[in-house]
């Protein structure tokens, strides 16, 4: 029997969070956990790890990055998936170089022509990199794929 692959789902609040919920079906049947920011809008899910927004202050950034590391250490995911934004960057680098996870990144549908900072940051290490607008393919390398968008 194949070993169950555990999936870590990582996203910030707002549209990134809505995009994550839209894609939930892709992960059905797999053990998984969600890691997101603690906001009024995201507080309605059980079994979720919540962080303070890492851009709120330098202290929040350091604490946030340490917490992300500890959560990955505890959960031991095999795969990380993110819809952005910046919360994905530390998680993906820890995943790639320390926890040896596979990485799937979906660039937000807000990026029509220009790559996001997070997208550029994780593109080199992502195993599957998806964009949601065809014109954006030109701005990334051959690894980027367009198969459709949510909006």
């Amino acid at each position: 029997m194949k070993k169950a692959k555990k999936i870590g789902l990582i996203c910030s609040a707002g549209g990134h969070y809505t995009e994550m919920l839209q894609l939930w079906q892709a992960f059905e049947g797999y053990p998984k956990f969600l890691l997101t920011y603690q906001e009024v809008t995201t507080m309605d899910r059980v079994g979720t790890h919540y962080l303070e927004n890492i851009f709120r202050s330098p202290i929040a950034f350091i604490i946030g990055v340490v917490k992300i590391f500890l959560i990955l250490l505890k959960e031991k995911p095999h795969i990380l998936f993110s819809t952005g934004s910046e919360i994905a960057a530390p998680a993906f680098y820890f995943g790639k170089f320390i926890f040896r996870t596979k990485l799937i990144y979906l660039e937000c549908s807000a990026q029509v022509y220009r790559p996001s900072l997070t997208g550029k940051c994780v593109y080199p290490i992502a195993d599957l990199f998806l964009v949601q607008w065809e014109p954006l393919l030109k701005r990334y390398g051959p690894k980027a794929k367009y198969v459709g968008g949510l909006i």
Partner: protein, 162 residues
């Protein structure tokens, strides 16, 4: 009911909240506002800063019309539930966002000609557009989201093959 929502970007969007408040004094529709980090205090309208996602979805589902910034979450949900949406993008020059990418999103969607999404760039044209959309009797039907199905299939296949 008309639901107005401006997302959770740290800069507020007072231009839209203020205009919605002004329009509320002249329309027979109830207007409910999720004002996010905006500062403007509405005089004619029921408003709150944020509600959890599942409550926001309930507001969207019971609305005849949603008006929002070019926010991805709202655009996705209006598509899913077949609710008419007027997009009014945030602008950099008014310090409503760090870049003008919301105008890019609005133009890209406008170019597609979806039957339930309208775009307004000038707040002075918002009221006329609201009247026009609400006068149109045909309610859009929720459509299958092919992009969503394709993304789910691609991601799932990738995971299965690992």
């Amino acid at each position: 009911m008309i639901f107005v929502t401006v997302g959770n970007h740290y800069q507020g969007f007072d231009r839209l909240i203020k205009k919605a408040d002004e329009i509320a004094s002249r329309t027979s529709y109830d207007i409910v506002i999720q004002r996010g980090y905006s500062k403007y205090v509405s005089k004619n309208v029921k408003y709150f800063d944020f509600v959890p996602m599942n409550e926001a979805i309930e507001f969207i589902k019971m609305s005849e019309l949603v008006i929002s910034h070019a926010g991805i979450g709202t655009i996705i949900l209006c598509k899913e539930y077949g609710i008419p949406l007027i997009i009014f993008p945030r602008r950099k020059e008014y310090e409503e966002h760090g870049t003008d990418h919301q105008v890019e999103i609005a133009r890209a969607i406008e170019g597609r000609g979806d039957d339930h999404i309208y775009v307004v760039y000038d707040e002075e044209q918002l009221e006329a557009k609201i009247v026009e959309v609400l006068a149109g009797k045909q309610k859009p039907t929720p459509k299958a989201n092919e992009g969503k199905a394709s993304l789910i299939r691609t991601i799932r296949t990738f995971i299965e093959n690992l």
